[in-house]
Symmetry: C2
Subunit: 439 residues, 2 copies
């Protein structure tokens, strides 16, 4: 298949990149290569991420379909890594030491394994059919060059998805910049579902989008209440976006496709697997500003999403419940052992996702709601922080947190707010009370 | 009244100091003076604590009943502070600077206010009657020189009680060394009471005494379940130990007097006041190894006990509950904002009070129970800590906590356990895996 044919195909089926302008032919080839690779590469494959970073999606696609051997792929990757940095191969590139030889042998083995995995699954014909099928189903391809590509994915580094297959308007994904993932157990209780619905409604009222995984239980309650409140909800699925799994949620998932976004790494037609659920969870954690586990037993899969959020350094909250309910034991464990913040209201979840209270871009609703519904709690903690700040002596945030006997994250957020309000300022790594307000 | 008369009276009514040997006449006078001062000094009076530290209880009693003026008391206190340190007054003692004069004037004013407060309430006759009444009621006086005096009171420093009035065997107080305070709202729910009872029973099974305040709701549930489990329970009361307040708990309080201990700072006959409740809370927090708030609304008085525990640096736990129950909102606030540990079982409360798991002195029950009921959780965390420890490179506990992604307190406790078990050791401020187990 020639590049021209590829371009014709890609531009025909994809109708240009969402969120971008017209599709140049280079960009079209890259888009097709990404689409093709998603048919063969399992989500979260770090080796694929490394090779795509070095050779580009088209280079990796060519290596697979044209049957390059692993040594050739490694040479190309090494060259690609070195040349853009230096303009010419570094001395290390010519290194012939035994250590280098052993390292190369390991790299060749890894690449050979990848090529072996991908080759049986990947053909240009099958890739074209996948793109055409997606187009027929109204499924669009979103690639990292799009403005709509979730910003949070950057924190996944080598584990960033190659592309997303989307049902719904991909441009809606830009609103994930101000979003909360509400996740939890499929085996939820009335309590958990009630909390999920109240949380979703409260977050929508504050201008947040709600991310979840489309599963029974807490996920479904969060999606449903978001839609009912007129908010934006995004479901990341572990299989293809045409596979409305679980079947009992198919009506809900269709509504999300219409009013929100259904997104998946795998192209239409793929079934979810246990691995794909675990890797799907990383997308939820990375896409949302914060993750809140609403209700989860000790072995709930949602704890995996919490683990991804913690690993990515994202704010992580958990809703407490009765200690007599095994359905809340996972949440308590997150609070007790994994430093999850105990959140008991939509207000607290919003604070977790947006500690400075800057609100969503272009959404005056949040700003309007916040001061009215602001809890006395925030004010109290702010008062304590103000009381331990000195106008004479600098103190760093750690010290202030210790003196105020407040969690560091709370203090950091308050200091930021006080800074914006001109009541405190930072210089030389320390915080002081701002004199202006004391004049 | 001569000293001889005082001694006769004190030895007659108190029958010697509990927990100690025979009462020398000096000690008897000090005991009487402390008893007398409790009739006039409100609990937690720091000025009284300072004066007693400087002049001794007898000196303060004399100053009040013999009508010394504030200047004389200050001079005596200054002299007492300086002489034992240096053998002779320091130069500062002769200081005639204006700063010193201003400071003295302030001190004189403070002392004069104290004397004014105490004088109308304090007479030797009334003090003798109080001691005699206590004796008739079977109430004993416990002073800080007794072996049974709660060790934890030392952390109160100037706020330590002058004495305790006790119903029940004062020697039982020695077991407070291994105890948990279970406190909470009077307006408790079935949930809170159930949790308090399960917690008390579980703590008794692990060899802990249970401390509380004798109030309705959580306090009563904790005391009752401790008695039903055959454990030791201690109630600190805000009024006299003869005033069984609240009246609805009088049967329970009588049982505590018989099988446990009722203790109060104020002599028999005194009614509780709002101030006395708040000051009583500091005794609960100081006496117990850890404080756990079982169920508390946003304004529950038990949050004051939690505040004392935090201020004294004692471990503080809170039991989560439904976020829809206002009765748990105070607990969630403690977890969220005041770094209280989220505790969901008696096992976790025991770990809070005794992180090294050394168990109560002379109680083989705890050691026998622990390995059988040990939760996998503890083991998991220990495994994680072991996995990040190196036998080659030292790491401090902070670094280990960061690498293990576990709370510092958990890691510190585990390192202690591993040290005791010979599996890890500390040297030069860093921890390593112990080689012995790897040989």
């Amino acid at each position: 298949m020639s590049d021209t044919e590829v371009v014709r195909l890609v531009t025909a089926v994809s109708g240009g990149a969402p969120g971008g302008g017209a599709c140049s032919s280079d960009a079209a080839v890259e888009r097709f290569a990404r689409a093709a690779l998603t048919t063969a590469v399992e989500p979260g494959d770090l080796e694929a991420g490394r090779l795509v970073a070095a050779l580009g999606p088209e280079g990796v696609l060519r290596a697979v379909v044209e049957g390059h051997d692993a040594e050739r792929v490694l040479r190309a990757a090494r060259h690609a890594e070195v040349v853009p940095l230096r303009g010419a191969p570094r001395a290390a590139f010519e290194d012939a030491s035994p250590e280098r030889a052993a390292e190369d042998a390991r790299a060749v083995r890894r690449i050979a394994e990848c090529l072996e995995r991908w080759r049986p699954r990947l053909s240009l014909d099958e890739s074209c059919r996948a793109v055409e099928r997606a187009s027929r189903l109204g499924v669009q391809l979103l690639t990292p060059d799009s403005d709509a590509w979730p910003e949070g994915f950057a924190s996944l580094e080598g584990g960033e998805p190659l592309a997303l297959w989307i049902r719904g308007d991909p441009n809606r994904l830009a609103r994930l910049e101000h979003s909360v993932a509400l996740v939890g157990a499929r085996a939820s209780t009335d309590y958990g579902e009630h909390v999920a619905m109240e949380a979703a409604a409260g977050l929508v009222g504050r201008g947040f989008a709600v991310v979840s995984g489309g599963a029974y239980g807490i996920d479904a309650a969060a999606h449903r209440a978001t839609l009912a409140s007129g908010g934006l909800t995004v479901a990341f699925l572990a299989g293809g976006v045409d596979r409305l799994y679980p079947a009992g949620n198919s009506d809900l998932l269709r509504r999300i496709a219409g009013e929100g976004v259904l997104a998946a790494e795998l192209p239409p037609g793929n079934a979810p697997t246990r691995w794909r659920f675990l890797m799907r969870n990383r997308l939820i954690a990375a896409a949302a500003s914060a993750t809140v586990v609403v209700e989860a037993g000790r072995r709930s899969g949602s704890l995996n999403t919490a683990g991804h959020a913690a690993q990515l350094g994202r704010p992580l909250g958990a809703v407490p419940g009765s200690i007599l309910s095994p359905a809340s034991a996972g949440c308590h464990r997150l609070i007790r052992e994994y430093a999850a913040i105990c959140v008991t209201s939509a207000e607290e979840m919003a604070e977790l996702a947006d500690p400075l209270g800057t609100g969503p871009t272009g959404s005056p609703a949040a700003a309007a709601v916040r001061p009215v519904e602001g809890e006395p709690r925030g004010g109290d903690a702010e008062g304590v922080v103000l009381s331990v700040l000195s106008s004479a002596r600098r103190a760093d945030a750690d010290e202030i947190a210790a003196r105020a006997a407040l969690p560091f994250t709370t203090v950091a957020a308050i200091l930021g707010r006080l800074d914006l309000a001109g009541r405190a300022r930072e210089s030389g790594g320390g915080w002081t009370l701002s004199e202006r307000r004391h004049a």
